[in-house]
Subunit: 331 residues, 2 copies
Amino acid sequence: MATIQNIADRLGISKGTVSKALNGASDISETLRKTVLDTAVEMGYSRIRRSRDEAKKFCILTKNIEYREPHQFGYDFVIGFRQMAEPLGYAVEVVPVDQKFQKSIPYDVFMLQQDYIGAFVLGFSLDDPWMKDFETSHTPTVLYDNYISKNPFISSIGIDNSEGMALAVAHLKELGHKKIGYLSSSFGSHIMQVRHKAFFHAMKQNGLRADPSCAGTSFYVSHCIEKHLPRLLDLGMTAIICSHDLIANAAIVQCQQLGVHVPEDISIVGFDDLPISAYTSPPLTTVRQERLELGKCGFYALDSILNKVYIGTMYLHAQLIVRNSTGRPAG
Amino acid sequence: MATIQNIADRLGISKGTVSKALNGASDISETLRKTVLDTAVEMGYSRIRRSRDEAKKFCILTKNIEYREPHQFGYDFVIGFRQMAEPLGYAVEVVPVDQKFQKSIPYDVFMLQQDYIGAFVLGFSLDDPWMKDFETSHTPTVLYDNYISKNPFISSIGIDNSEGMALAVAHLKELGHKKIGYLSSSFGSHIMQVRHKAFFHAMKQNGLRADPSCAGTSFYVSHCIEKHLPRLLDLGMTAIICSHDLIANAAIVQCQQLGVHVPEDISIVGFDDLPISAYTSPPLTTVRQERLELGKCGFYALDSILNKVYIGTMYLHAQLIVRNSTGRPAG
C-alpha cells in the first residue's frame, strides 16, 4: 500500500505538502489538494496506515433509508453500529448520499477527504454510481444487502435469506399448503434477486412445484399487486410469499377489497418484519431482519477488515415470526 | 434461558446444591452432579449468564487435525484464534476429540462440565456424533467448514468456496482452457459437497460445458487418482481442479508417471494452499485458505454470539495463488 512518501515522489512535491493536502490545510490550493487526493486514491493510500491514536471516524452512508425515529427502518441499524463502535472510541457519523452526490466525487476521494476510516453502507441499489467504485476501492467498507466479489476491502452483511425463505416455505408446507406463489419488487436491488432465487430453491428443497408463472415481479408495489395478485389467485395459490413487508401489506389490503379472506382463503408471508408489520390486519407472518444485530454485525465486519481479516460475507441466522396472516388452507 | 433457581425448583433441591454441582464441588455425589448437569442442559442453562468476572474459557475442538507444528494444517487456526482471544482475557484450550469420546458424553454436558463458554470446532465430518448435538445445543459454537441451519447458537465460518471456485475456473478460462475436469474426495464432509456444487456452478457461469462425467469422486486419494485421472485425460481435459491440495499433489505425481507434463499437457489447480503446496514440482496453483485469518474469524463469530449477534455464516474472501502448475493448453 502506498505511503505519503510514495505520493510525494510521484508528484515531485515534499512529504509535508502531501500531508498538508491530505489533512485539508488551508495554505494548500484547491487544485493541488485535489491532485494529491486523486493520486493518493489511485496509489491505494489509505488512512488505515495511520497511527491508532489519531481520530478514528466511521460513517454510515444511507440512501433512501430513514433512521432518525425508532419506527424507521434504519434506526436500529444506526443504534446497533454505534453501540459497538463508540465504547471502543470510534466516532460515527450518518451521511445520507444520493446518486447526484455520488456522481460528483469518487468514493475513495470522499472517504479520504472526510477522514473516514471505513463505511457501513445502507440502502444502495445496483445502479448507484459508488457500487462501481466499491469494486476497486481500498477503503474498508461493509455493504448491507449488497455484494461485491473479489475485493478484500469490501464485506457484505445481512440475514441469511436462503435460510429465511426455507423457514417461510417449510412453515407453509407444514400448514398443508402446496400451491405457493411469490410476489416481488423488480431486480434493481441485489437482495430482490437473492430472495427470488431462494424462493424457487426452497420450493424445490421442500418437494413443491414452482414454475416461473408462480412468481410475479414489478417495479411498483401497486402494479405488482394489481397485475399479479389476481393472477396468482386464479392459479389456485393458497399462500403467497412476498419479497418484503410493504408488498405483503398491500396484498392483504387488496385481498380484503377482493373479498378474499386472509388467512382463511389465502395465507400471506412477508420479509423484513418492519415495525408496522405487527399491526397490519391480520398481523403479518414474516421473516425478521434483526436490525439491531445487523448494525452490530456491520461493525464486526468493519473491525475485522481493519484487523486484516478479510470477511467476504457475514449473514445472520434468519428467524420466522409467525403471526395471524398464515393458517391452514381451506378444504 | 434457565437460571440456577429454575434448575433447583425442577429437581426440588437448594440453589446452593445446584451451584455446587455445576462447579464440581467435592461434597456432591457423582450421581447428583450428573442429574444436575443433565437437567441444566435440558433446560437450556448456559454459562453465558454468569458474571463477566469469572473465568472465561474457550476450547478449540479438533478431530483429525494436527496443530502443534507450524507446517501442520491446524497450527495457524489455533494461533489466530488465540491472538484475538487472549488479549481480551479469555483462556483457550485445544481439545482433540474422537468419535468414541463424542459418543461417551453429550456435547452440552461436556462443555458445561469443563466450564467452556464456547467452542471453535475444526475437522468434524458429517458422521461425527456431536454434529447431531449441535442442532439443538445452547452453547455458543463456531464450526469451521461445517454448517448447521436454524440454531442461533451455532455459526459457520470458512472461506467463500464459491468465490474460490469461480476464481479457479476464470483463471483457467483466461489461459484458454475449455475442457476442465474435477477430482474430489467423497462427500462425507460438508465442504466437499459445497465445492463439488461450486465447480459446476462456476463452469456454467463462465459459459463452459460440464456434465457429471467431468467429475470423479472417491473416498481414497489413491483410488481417485487411479480411477478418474486417466478417464479425465481420455476425455480430452486440458485442466483439472482438485477438491484439495493432497489430491492435486497426487495428480501431479501420477501425471509425471504417465508421461503427461504439468502444465504443458495438463493444468492442475488445488484447494487449501497447504504449507507443502509451494514446494510441489511444479509448485501448485491453488485456492488459498488464509488459516490465520480463519482462526481470527472463529473468534469473531464466537464473540458475536456471546454479544447476542447470531451470525449464521461468515466467509472470508477467497484468494487464488497462481504458481506453475497452470499454463496455456497445448496447441
